[in-house]
Structure formats: structure tokens, C-alpha cells
Subunit: 125 residues, 2 copies
DNA sequence: CTTTGTGCAAAGGCTTTGCATGCTT
DNA sequence: AAGCATGCAAAGCCTTTGCACAAAG
């Protein structure tokens, strides 16, 4: 079982308090007194447990966020990085038909939406 | 403009002849006499030109494939890695509605389908 | 007291870059 | 001949791992 430590709490709080997906390095920079390896290990565990999710940035870096359970997708602002959870998903039919058409089975889908959020639109671009 | 070299041709041929997305390291392993840096540089250029596309593996490694132009998605076999091009896309309406609902603009979508292909199904998972 | 977590530094893996050489045009 | 491409090795990043020490239960 998981042991309660200051560092783990700090990481969890940071994740919960963020509306963006954050990287291990970013967390390490933000949280004073938490070693980089500790950040990585905790993020690893959180994703293994299913508590946190992972997004991949264009440069290959992994970013983490806590977004709650259940099937959903992400809508990310390409300007400020804010991530919104999208529960509305009508991709199953499409995925199923495509799979059938190609002779595939056991198909899962994953979709990402990227745009510009309301507040970044106001700010101008 | 691009200069014609043996190495570049070899890389292009390999990409065109593959039904999977391949990594730089894989290409370097396959193609005798092509330096790793050369593979990376050519793949970089091919994607910049829009000739090749990029997929990200779970470990963060980048894999490349040539898939032709136009909007499309990918259906990947999780067993053998074969990638099929999917032109059928009905995600625009959904993406637009989600965007509107969240106050986002300029939204682009990207979907990945992963399943098991016909021949891997026969072979037995 | 035992077990698990942390920190630091080293090591790993993928990718990029500097520089001299070779090949294309 | 001039310029771009290649090769090799070094360097860069992100991430993981080994080991001794500290903290939790």
C-alpha cells in the first residue's frame, strides 16, 4: 500500500490544482524540496493506479493531469495549454464501422481536440 | 532543393515499402551503410516537407510512415503494428459542437484507432 | 523495528549537433 | 569548383535506476 508522504501530497495537490497538463520537470521546478526522481516515481505510480493520465507533447515530453474516471477526451488550448475534459463522445459508431470495414476487431479509439480557448481568444490570438 | 543521394533513396524506399510505422533506429538497423544521424536528418526533412507523418509510441519513440496527403486517420494493429489509412472521417461535426460548447475556436482534431487486424485474429491473438 | 519513500548521482535511450570528409550538381 | 549530405562522436534531454539514508506505520 501507499505510504503518506509530504512529497506525494505536494505532487497530488499540484496536479489537482492545475488546469493544464504538467511535466515532471515542471513540477520539480515548482515544488521546492521535492527531488526529481521522486516526482517521476510518484507520477509513474499515479498513472499506474489510474489516478493520473498522460499526454504527450510534440517534443515527446510526457505531461500529466488528473481528470477523473470514465471515458472522455481532452480539449486543449494551443495557446495557454488549458485542458478541458470532454465527456461527449460519439466516436464509437464510427470506430466500429471503420474497424468492420478494415476487418479489425477489438478496436479502441482515442481523440484529441486542440483549439484556442475563450480567454485566449479575447486576449488576441 | 533536395539533393539525390543513395541514403535518402534507401530511406524513402524503406518507408514506402513498409506497412508499419518505423523508427529511426529500426531503419538504421535495417539499412546497412546508412548512418544513424543521416536517418534522423532525412526523416526530419521528410516530415517537414509533409512527405512523411509521425506517430508516437508508448515509450515516446517517434515512428514514421508515408501515408499520402489529405485528411485521414490511422488504424493500427496492436499486435503486428500494421497501419491502415482511414479516409472516412465524421469527426468534424462532433469537434465543432464540442468546441462551441466549451467556447473554443479554431479546433482541430486528431483520432487514433487501435485494434487487431484480420490476419492477427486468425493467427490467434 | 521493518518497510517503503526519498535524494542524489549515475546510467539509459532517443535525438540533435559540430566538424571534417565525400559526393552531387 | 561550390555546396549540400553524410558519418562519427560528442552532447542534450527526458526518464529510469542503484544505493544509502530518512521517514512512515
Amino acid at each position: 500500500m501507499s505510504r503518506r508522504t509530504e512529497q506525494r501530497e505536494a505532487i497530488l495537490d499540484a496536479l489537482r490544482g492545475s488546469d493544464r497538463a504538467v511535466t515532471a520537470q515542471e513540477l520539480h521546478g515548482t515544488l521546492e524540496g521535492v527531488g526529481l526522481a521522486t516526482v517521476y516515481r510518484n507520477l509513474q505510480r499515479l498513472t499506474d493506479e489510474g489516478t493520473a493520465e498522460t499526454l504527450r507533447r510534440d517534443n515527446g515530453e510526457q505531461a500529466f493531469l488528473i481528470c477523473g474516471g470514465g471515458h472522455h477526451h481532452h480539449l486543449t488550448c494551443r495557446v495557454c495549454g488549458r485542458v478541458e475534459r470532454v465527456r461527449d463522445c460519439r466516436l464509437d459508431d464510427w470506430a466500429g464501422e471503420v474497424a468492420a470495414a478494415h476487418g479489425f476487431a477489438q478496436v479502441e479509439h482515442n481523440a484529441e481536440l486542440v483549439g484556442v480557448c475563450k480567454s485566449c481568444l479575447k486576449t488576441g490570438k
